[in-house]
Symmetry: C2
Subunit: 280 residues, 2 copies
């Protein structure tokens, strides 16, 4: 049995399905995703390029609106309000991180929930908690798709999440609770982290800390989802000591090629779903 959960492979499969759906749109305009970037962060440039490439491959119009580092809060808000009204724009995302003078919360709150391709607006997150949303934050959504693809039981499963960010840990916890899993959310203050993790059926690390998860955290029935995106000595890696735990666990996602491609795929799916809601 192959232990590796090949997110790259599955994301490509999902992207191909999405491409086919978009090709079947007859006569109407194509879906459009607008990405707002402020400043010129190196990692952001790379992520945005990946998103725009992915848009092109599936037939979504990807548009980058790049603004100077020193742009005023009020100007960005005005730009988003314009995009909210633009009938040709289906999804709007603001690439994080933002410069320190920009109030991220106000920016997110400005995005129309009807164009919230990242699923980060409060009204959408509230509906995620209530299990009434059809748009999910892309990384948690990708993780759940991977687990379901591999037919990993979630009902009654002990799932431990390391990390409680607004974009991964917390929405993911709510989504898994709604899937009837027993969910534990850990953070940097957690006592006895190893013991808690070692009992898990599914361990999801979204801590952003390289080499955090060692063989002492795992068991031989465990599925590991590594959400870490760390750079160590110029090398891109996750939170998990992959070589050390690989032999022990049942399933594991690699970094790169695990959660990352799924996140982009889910962003595209969100954009298409927002388009479909509007056009149908």
């Amino acid at each position: 049995m192959n232990k590796i959960i090949d997110g790259k492979f599955y994301a490509q499969e999902l992207n191909t399905r999405l491409k086919n759906s978009i090709e079947q749109i007859n006569g109407k305009r194509k879906p459009k995703l607008t990405i707002i970037q402020i400043g010129d962060n190196f990692a952001s440039n790379k992520y945005i390029k990946n998103k725009l490439n992915a848009c092109e491959k599936v037939g979504i119009i990807g548009e980058l609106k790049k603004y100077q580092e020193n742009i005023k809060q009020s100007e960005i808000v005005r730009e988003i309000e314009k995009l909210n009204k633009d009938l040709t724009v289906d999804g709007i995302i603001v690439q994080l991180p933002l410069p320190s003078h920009i109030n991220e919360k106000e920016i997110t709150d400005t995005i129309s929930p009807l164009k919230d391709a990242d699923g980060f607006t409060p009204i959408n997150l509230g509906n995620v908690m209530l299990n009434k949303s059809n748009i999910y934050p892309a990384t948690p959504y990708g993780i759940i798709k991977l687990l379901e693809w591999k037919k990993i039981n979630l009902i009654g499963a002990n799932i431990v999440i390391i990390g409680r960010s607004n974009i991964v840990g917390k929405p993911l916890a709510n989504m898994l609770i709604n899937k009837s899993a027993t969910v534990t959310v850990c953070n940097t203050k957690t006592k006895d982290l190893k013991r808690i993790c070692k009992n898990a059926d599914v361990l999801i690390s979204a801590a952003g800390a390289a080499n955090l998860v060692t063989k002492d955290f795992v068991n031989d029935k465990m599925t590991i989802i590594d959400v870490g995106a760390n750079f160590v000595d110029g090398k891109y890696c996750g939170d998990v000591k992959f070589d050390e735990v690989f032999e022990i666990v049942k399933y594991i996602t690699p970094v790169p090629g695990g959660v990352g491609p799924m996140t982009i795929s889910c962003l595209l799916e969100n954009t298409f779903n927002l388009y479909s809601q509007k056009e149908n």
Copy 2:
């Protein structure tokens, strides 16, 4: 040391403080809470009476709008829209449960977030998840107040919640995660519930199942919060076998007189906060 967490006592203290704040409102109108009831559910009648009495005691105008069991969805929506516009109304709550022909989600979504005294609207729950709200669902808010009153450490504490409802389990989990606790949410599908609970520093039972929590669930450092509101042989009781665990645990809330009075107190505080936001 007194083991009992006396919610009734603390709620009265909070209500007295609130009464003083409301008395200091000079010349302006008083805060007003409007309760919508559909039909004539026995338990609802009792809860509503308690809420109206509590309003009167602290100087909030409590108003009951009672509608026939067979009222149409569209009429209730229209009534709420009227209340949303009514400048004399600060808080609106819809007493649950609703008759089966009424769509609860649509009703909740209609309440203006600016008048959402129960904190049940999606935009408010999203902001609770994001730790950016100033209105919290009343029962979770009351529980956190009790824990803080007793100076029970939450940072890094192992907190287990039994139950994952939209009004207690899920919002409470998000609030405790934001307080840096390690939070586990269990449900009826949870395997090995006893073992999970037995390790907890704080055990919160919101399962609605009498006698669920026995001595096998507890330890001698544990704080128990019993959110259960069950009737067994005509007697009102919680989820916890109180007599059996009382001797073992460190702190415990009684039923009645624990979480219940705090819920009402927090509802009043929410109403006053909504009033203050509007008037200042």
